[in-house]
Subunit: 147 residues, 2 copies
């Protein structure tokens, strides 16, 4: 039930990129890294996967960097975490985005599986929050903080 550093860094990086979204300018890795206290090289991998997933654009050369290319109100924390950490569900057999049959459970597949019932509720709760939590909402707290 833990969020990886990858996801945490990803969210914190997207925070910076969300704040810079209106200016539609590019932010460089080391700027994000130093502002958010993240190892640059590791951050790079994170930004790259977010780019491949279609959330970011990048430009090389001087004045290059990364930029958010989707409106922050349309990107949810759920999407981001799924990209970086995989499914939100605590167990494969209750995942909606990456369902996988349990191999060893004696109740496998049956709708009355106790594990599925309990963990299904947890999955729905987690997804219910994170899939309705946009980057705009996420950045809202940060703006207040700096004022």
């Amino acid at each position: 039930m833990k969020l990886s550093k990858k996801s945490e860094y990803g969210l914190r990086a997207l925070l910076e990129l969300t704040l810079a979204y209106e200016t539609s300018s590019f932010v460089q890795r080391q700027d994000i890294a130093s502002r958010q206290n993240i190892p640059v090289e590791f951050l790079e991998q994170v930004l790259l996967t977010l780019k491949r997933a279609g959330l970011l654009a990048s430009r090389r050369g001087m004045n290059g960097g990364y930029r958010l290319i989707k409106p922050p109100s349309h990107v949810t924390l759920g999407q981001v975490i799924r990209i970086l950490d995989g499914p939100l569900a605590p167990i494969g057999c209750v995942s909606r985005t990456a369902y996988q049959k349990c191999d060893d459970c004696p109740y496998a597949g049956r709708p009355s599986c106790p594990v599925q019932q309990a963990m299904g509720a947890v999955r729905d709760a987690i997804a219910g929050i994170l899939d309705h939590y946009s980057l705009t909402d996420f950045a809202a707290g940060a703006r207040n903080a700096s004022s």
Copy 2:
């Protein structure tokens, strides 16, 4: 955001022990293991930690085994998972049972930290479900299934 095998096996084992609770008889490791399809030696470790945590009693020798010593309605899935997997919170800085200050986050400690706000909501949702989900509730599904 994943449940470990340890916790999954633990819950499935407790399912068996809950079903046997009224008879107040001891159930042996290999019975639990074969019924639930769990490697015996690994299950042992799980049962042992649950015993040390005060949920189970054991008896050696013939007709020995493990037995649940708390009423199933008083044991929650949240307790069990915390014993086997640690805190439910996705990140240390929002845990109630094992709080830990973030070391690198620029908003560390401030109540307006965006990560804390989002993950705090997730933690509350998870704990809200699992801390009110008793072994009795858990076993309810299994009983219907066999009928």
